[in-house]
């Protein structure tokens, strides 16, 4: 096992949902208070040297330049701060930047946060804002939504490999079930395959229940140099691998439109860095922005052969009690997808799982966890591997 890149000593996450009457910065205060309350050092706040803030759109709160404002609301008035924006991967972009900051030796303690407050606008306006992450010169211009972009991948995958709408529905059923065990999840409702198939079309073949939620939320972690982590907690979680990549945003440039090659590349990089094999991963949070995405991700991270992702769901392989549990938190699908917060919320879930603090959704004895987060149509990618010290 290689030396960790950095260690997570504290983590917090706001309640996810339609958070009427709360602004983004206030959601982050909620997450931050939880994080610092978990450290055994009551002065951990004063040890933070730098902050990286993942946030996607200026449109929702008519607010760009969020980094100093967020820091200010957390009580930092002279902290070096940077905002990262990589669409739905903005949070993981903050984490990877933070890891580089720690690994470079420039800082020893960093705050990594992600936040998005999306529910101030009508749905069509929110979709317009999200669509801005696709290529204006081709995708936006054609009237595509993100559901539409993933639907194009789904139609192709159904045509070429025989993936079915029922298999996609099984992703939603599983993740909704997991979310009922997560009090912070946006959705708290069990659904059936039939519910998904009967829900109204959003972008065929994707229906309402195939889509992640428009959610308000924030999450944060505090990371340190590995050798000082135990000053802040008796149970630090090490970041042992970090992989990243990019690809054409526009699907028409991809040889096969349902291949999201950047996931495979980022996963490989993270696994090699950590000297871990995918089969040794005990729990994973995958970017299920749409049900088809989770299926394609099984294939890209290497737990299913190309075209066979849907089969894993029929076998229950990725259920909480399966051989490769995916999205115990409920995922983007049911926990919710506050764009800039999503990558960090995935890390929060893995942090809980590896510390045996995930309550009724705990994967027994989980030692190694993987978080996969992507932006746009799968054009920015981050994969992180976490490990406990037991």
């Amino acid at each position: 096992m290689s030396k960790p890149l950095a260690s997570i000593v504290a983590a917090g996450c706001s309640k996810f949902g339609k958070r009427t009457g709360v602004m983004a910065r206030e959601l982050l205060v909620e997450a931050f208070q939880e994080a610092i309350s978990k450290s055994k050092d009551p002065d951990i706040r004063k040890k933070i040297r730098v902050g990286f803030f993942g946030n996607f759109s200026e449109m929702y709160e008519h607010q760009s330049h969020v980094a100093p404002i967020l820091a200010d609301w957390l009580g930092f008035h002279d902290l070096p701060v940077i905002r990262t924006e990589d669409a739905c991967a903005s949070g993981s972009a903050a984490l990877r930047t933070g890891i580089m900051a720690i690994k470079s030796g420039l800082y020893d303690v960093a705050l990594i946060a992600g936040v998005e407050k999306m529910n101030n606008r009508r749905t069509n306006e929110v979709l317009e804002g999200l669509a801005m992450a696709s290529d204006i010169a081709i995708e936006q211009w054609s009237g595509l939504t993100f559901a539409g972009i993933f639907a194009l991948m789904a139609t192709w995958h159904m045509h070429k490999y025989g993936t079915t709408e029922t298999q996609m529905a099984l992703v939603a059923v599983k993740n909704h079930k997991n979310a009922t065990l997560n009090p912070k999840a946006h959705m708290q409702k069990l659904i059936t395959v039939e519910d998904v198939l009967k829900s109204r079309i959003v972008a065929w073949p994707l229906k309402l229940y195939d889509c992640s939620l428009i959610t308000d939320g924030a999450a944060c972690v505090i990371i340190t140099k590995p050798e000082i982590a135990e000053k802040f907690t008796d149970n630090p979680i090490d970041i042992v691998g970090s992989g990243s990549s990019s690809d054409h945003e526009s699907l028409i440039e991809r040889k096969e439109i349902s291949d999201i090659k950047g996931i495979a590349k980022a996963t490989r990089e993270a696994l090699e860095m950590a000297e871990i094999k995918i089969k040794n991963v005990d729990v994973a949070e995958l970017h299920d922005c749409f049900t088809i995405a989770e299926i394609l991700e099984y294939e890209e991270i290497g737990i299913a052969e190309r075209g066979y992702g849907g089969k894993l769901l029929e076998e229950g392989a990725t259920n909480l009690d399966g051989w490769f549990p995916v999205n115990p938190s409920g995922g983007l699908k049911a926990k919710g997808h506050p764009v800039g917060a999503t990558g960090i919320a995935q890390i929060y879930e893995i942090f809980l799982q590896l510390r045996n603090e995930a309550g009724p959704r705990q994967i027994k004895g989980a030692k190694i966890g993987l978080a996969q987060n992507m932006g746009g149509s799968g054009s920015t990618h981050f994969v992180h591997l976490l490990k406990n010290r037991s």
Binding site: R122, T123, N124, E125, L127, E128, A131, I136, A137, I138, E139, Q140, W141, S142, G143, L144, T145, A147, G148, A151, L152, M153, A154, T155, W156, H159, R200, I201, V202, A203, W204, P205, L206, H248, L251, I252, E253, K255, I257
Partner: protein
């Protein structure tokens, strides 16, 4: 020199041109100054057919704000040549009205906008 604005102004006149790499022959839509395959900067305009085959499609019923008034519509990825694809939308109300492999023709609606982007709308018509 190729450019996106020129690509769309040609399309406004009803003609679809890609950027063809004179080194490796790769064609991109819209054209770019650097070939994504071989990184050559020798890119020339190359006239493409206005017809192709549906490679994939989606029926959009919940549209972004700027397209709300048009919904529902299908967006199709259309294969014009091997490895040369483009996107257009077609006014239909059920996914059963179209399938992978259908032959389609691009139908261009000139831009009437006087602010950027003054790009045409790109529709599709089914051919039989």
């Amino acid at each position: 020199m190729v450019s996106i604005e020129e690509f769309y102004s040609k399309l406004n006149e009803g003609e679809l041109y890609g950027g063809k790499c004179s080194n490796c022959g790769n064609i991109t839509l819209p054209p770019r100054q650097i070939c994504p395959k071989c990184l050559s900067t020798q890119i020339d305009w190359y006239k493409l057919s206005m017809t192709g085959e549906v490679e994939s499609f989606t029926l959009i019923t919940v549209a972004p704000k700027n397209f709300e008034n048009e919904a529902p519509y299908a967006v199709c990825i259309v294969k014009i040549l091997e490895d040369v694809k483009f996107i257009g939308r077609i006014k239909i109300s059920s996914q059963n009205e179209i399938k992978v492999g259908d032959k389609v023709e691009f139908v261009i609606e000139k831009s009437i906008s006087n602010e950027w982007p003054m790009w045409p709308k790109i529709y599709l018509k089914k051919l039989n």
